[in-house]
Amino acid sequence: MPGETNNGMQCNEFEALLFDALDGLLSGAKQGRFRAHARVCAKCGPMFAEVEAGQHWLKSLTEVEAPANLVHNILAATSGIESYRLQEAATATHKPSLGERIREWADSLLTPVWSTVRQPRFAMSFGMAFFSLSVALSVAGVKPSDLKQADFSRNGLRRTYYTTTARVVKYYENIRLVYEIESRVQEFKKATTPAEPGPAKERDKNRKNNSSGQPEPRQERNYSREENQPVLASNPEDPPAVSVTTIRRFA
């Protein structure tokens, strides 16, 4: 109870000295009286024990390490500069040469392009394009060894141009010669083959050879004919000479 005297110390005096006692500032007789009061006082004793235990628990907590990237994040969020210490250390130890700077510049340009190209959809497209190009080149007869030996000087390019032109002209002339010979041979065949297969036979042959996919004229007429339309006897295979004769008779 407040005001109660135990071992020569009152409770309010005990409370006043509590923080000094907990901070280890009491000494000698004062500390003895304080401890004695804590032992005998039913109110102050348990209170002191609790507070001392709480302090003990709290003091057991050690300082935690901050995350490694915290300083970097703070500097990036405030001054926007990553770390002057690191930057200065880097510049002091190593100055980049012109080649390195060019390489860095090229890297800064190419890295985003390369990261885009590496995406699967682009990679597949480029793969297909490369495959098509290589097939086209092999069909055209272009060899990589020819490209290696190519001379890119002015005279070399001129020589390559004339050589290529000559090759194309020669190829064209050869093709023309082949076609001419072929056409001559066909003419010769026509001249030597016995003539006149019959007209009906020829028509049959034409019909068989009709690969245009168009239906026969007769079929067209049949499919387009209406039901009440009179069916006229006709023979499209007959020559038109018959009708001509009929007209003459009535006239």
């Binding site: 709480g54 709290l58 935690v64 703070i74 969020a77 405030t78």
Partner: protein
């Protein structure tokens, strides 16, 4: 005093636009501020975000710091404390804060905190040294009311004197001592309750 002069010099250089001085300030104080935030907020992620917020605010308002009005450390801690209080209000953490005199409920009986303390036979002093015991203390600290929590953090974890704490919390020194007393006692009760359950 020498340290205070160095810090004041850094602040002057920083206000003048010296980025190296600002980095030096960040290097000096980030760990301390992170620890205050971690012990108050409870999680490392929240503490990281709050520490960044403190430095962002500090960077913007550094020119308003007056050397005559108090130590830089007190100014920084006040700023940290204000942000922590704002954070506490936003997250409404007081809903889960235990009352000092509340009787242990059935929910508390099933507290996972006690399950983590495995070495039941060991004496309390030995348990304090263990990681599990430290985690238990850290969790019990989160159960204190924010007024008591900030007082004990500044006193027992940051070793600030009562006058400085009074300046940071903007309350009289007597109130500071009372809060520290109550905070320590409540923490001890919470932990004793846990240990009684597991023993």
């Amino acid at each position: 005093m020498e340290d205070a002069q160095i810090v004041n010099g850094l602040v002057r250089r920083c206000v003048a636009g010296d980025a190296v001085a600002w980095e030096e300030i960040v290097q000096r104080y980030h760990r301390r501020i992170f620890n205050i935030c971690y012990r108050f907020a409870g999680t490392s992620d929240d503490a990281q975000d709050l520490t960044q917020e403190v430095f962002i605010k500090m960077y913007r308002t550094l020119s308003s710091y007056d050397v005559e009005r108090g130590a830089f450390m007190t100014w920084v801690t006040t700023m940290t404390r204000n942000l922590l209080v704002d954070h506490f209000r936003k997250t409404k953490q007081d809903r889960v804060t235990d009352s000092i005199d509340a009787a242990p409920s059935e929910h508390e009986d099933a507290m996972p905190l006690s399950e983590r303390i495995q070495d039941q036979a060991a004496p309390p002093d030995a348990r304090v040294q263990s990681r599990e015991a430290k985690e238990a203390v850290h969790e019990a600290l989160q159960k204190l009311s924010p007024e008591l929590r900030e007082a004990v953090i500044l006193r027992d974890l940051q070793d600030m004197d009562y006058r400085e704490i009074a300046a940071v919390l903007k309350v009289p020194e007597g109130t500071v001592k009372s809060r520290i007393n109550r905070g320590r006692a409540e923490l001890a009760r919470l932990l004793q309750r846990i240990y009684k359950q597991v023993m």
